[in-house]
């Protein structure tokens, strides 16, 4: 670490540009929102993965077979777990970047612009995952008489409770991503007004 510092010191004027503007309050809120994103995403993944439930289903009069309900039975739930894992990993990376910017004293417009772009992209992905899981969950809860898809929540009550909680948490994650993009856009606009 010290050798990098020694090499950086003479090149400081050209290699490491100084932070363009200070916005400590904005960065603190940014890091807090990213921690919230990581937390809700992680809990949603854990709740979904640990939702396996086994019940004895009577397939013929007198014979009952243990059938289980897992999240991997539905591609929508698999996509939800995958999207939330990407969101968690992304929140770690960008949280570290925000903390580094805070330690450095300020942030740069380039960083905020990249945050806007990738946060908005991730909002699309997580919102699609929430919608997909929500759609399947609603059919599982109410059933659909037109397509003859029977509801499963009367037999697998605990499984339904697990994925309802997971979908609610992923909704909180997508709202957090929305707030993060608004915050980054606000910080970008404040930089222009200050100049």
């Amino acid at each position: 670490m010290s050798s990098i510092d020694a090499a950086e010191a003479p090149l400081k004027s050209s290699a490491t540009p100084p932070p363009e503007y200070k916005s400590s309050m904005g960065l603190v809120v940014d890091v807090a929102l990213r921690v919230l994103l990581f937390g809700t995403g992680l809990v949603a993944i854990i709740v979904m993965v640990a939702s396996k439930q086994t019940k004895m289903i009577p397939v013929a009069p007198g014979i009952a077979v243990p059938l289980d309900a897992k999240f991997s039975h539905s591609p929508a739930f698999i996509y939800l777990v995958a999207a939330l894992s990407v969101a968690c990993l992304y929140s770690i990376i960008t949280g570290v970047l925000s903390v580094l910017a805070f330690v450095r004293g300020g942030t740069s417009t380039k960083l905020q612009f990249h945050f806007v772009m990738f946060d908005a992209l991730l909002l699309g992905i997580v919102a699609a995952a929430t919608g997909a899981a929500g759609g399947v969950a609603y059919v599982g809860l109410k059933g659909n008489s037109h397509t003859r898809w029977n509801k499963i929540c009367n037999t697998y009550g605990s499984f339904c409770f697990h994925f309802a909680a997971s979908i609610l948490l992923s909704l909180v994650s997508s709202i957090t991503l929305l707030l993060l993009v608004w915050l980054s856009l606000y910080m970008l606009s404040k930089k222009i007004a200050r100049r």
Binding site: P75, M117, G124, T147, S184, L188
Partner: protein
């Protein structure tokens, strides 16, 4: 004097809209309109031969597939209708108050992001229902229906693709707004 001139230039650039913005907004409006209409008028009636009683020959029953039968499709149509009317309202608002009002670009960018989330969640819901309708789900005994309602399923697929492109257009509007602030 020099810095004053630069400030005025920057403020003007922030509040005015380029042709690129308006073109992408018009594209988003058109795509969501097409998606709404495609699923809104989607209806297919076919006959299915059902064996009611084993001794009698199979009876032909007419069955109808309509978008109102599935709540995910209803959500999709409503979300795309909201995005389309918002696109029209924001386009008119921008053209009417061109550069004069400072609040309009901020509100428009904020609501653009809400539209991105709404459109993508509609796409996700409809495509997950569509995948189940296309392939079925053996674990929960949900049969596929797209072998019977072929035209209906194809129209749903096209509507999903149009709405996805509309969501990408709204995302592009956010990136353009950020680029305008970045420069």
């Amino acid at each position: 004097m020099e810095t004053q001139f630069k400030e005025v230039e920057v403020v003007n650039r922030k509040t005015s809209f380029t042709v690129k913005d308006l073109a992408v907004r018009l594209l988003a409006l058109a795509l969501t309109l097409v998606a709404t209409v495609l699923l809104g008028v989607d209806k297919e009636t076919t006959t299915v031969s059902v064996k009611l009683v084993s001794s009698l020959p199979p009876v032909d029953l007419p069955v109808t597939a309509k978008w109102t039968q599935m709540s995910a499709f209803v959500f999709f149509v409503i979300a795309n209708a909201i995005a389309c009317s918002y696109g029209a309202a924001s386009l008119i608002l921008i053209l009417v108050t061109r550069g004069r009002n400072k609040l309009v670009p901020i509100m428009v960018t904020i609501l653009d992001l809400v539209m991105v989330g709404l459109l993508f969640s509609g796409v996700g819901a409809t495509s997950s229902i569509g995948v189940i309708a296309y392939k079925g789900n053996s674990h929960v005994q949900w049969d596929k229906v797209c072998n019977v309602f072929d035209k209906f399923c194809q129209q749903v697929a096209i509507a999903i693709f149009m709405s996805f492109a509309g969501g990408i257009a709204y995302l592009l509007l956010i990136v353009l707004a950020a680029l305008k602030l970045h420069k």
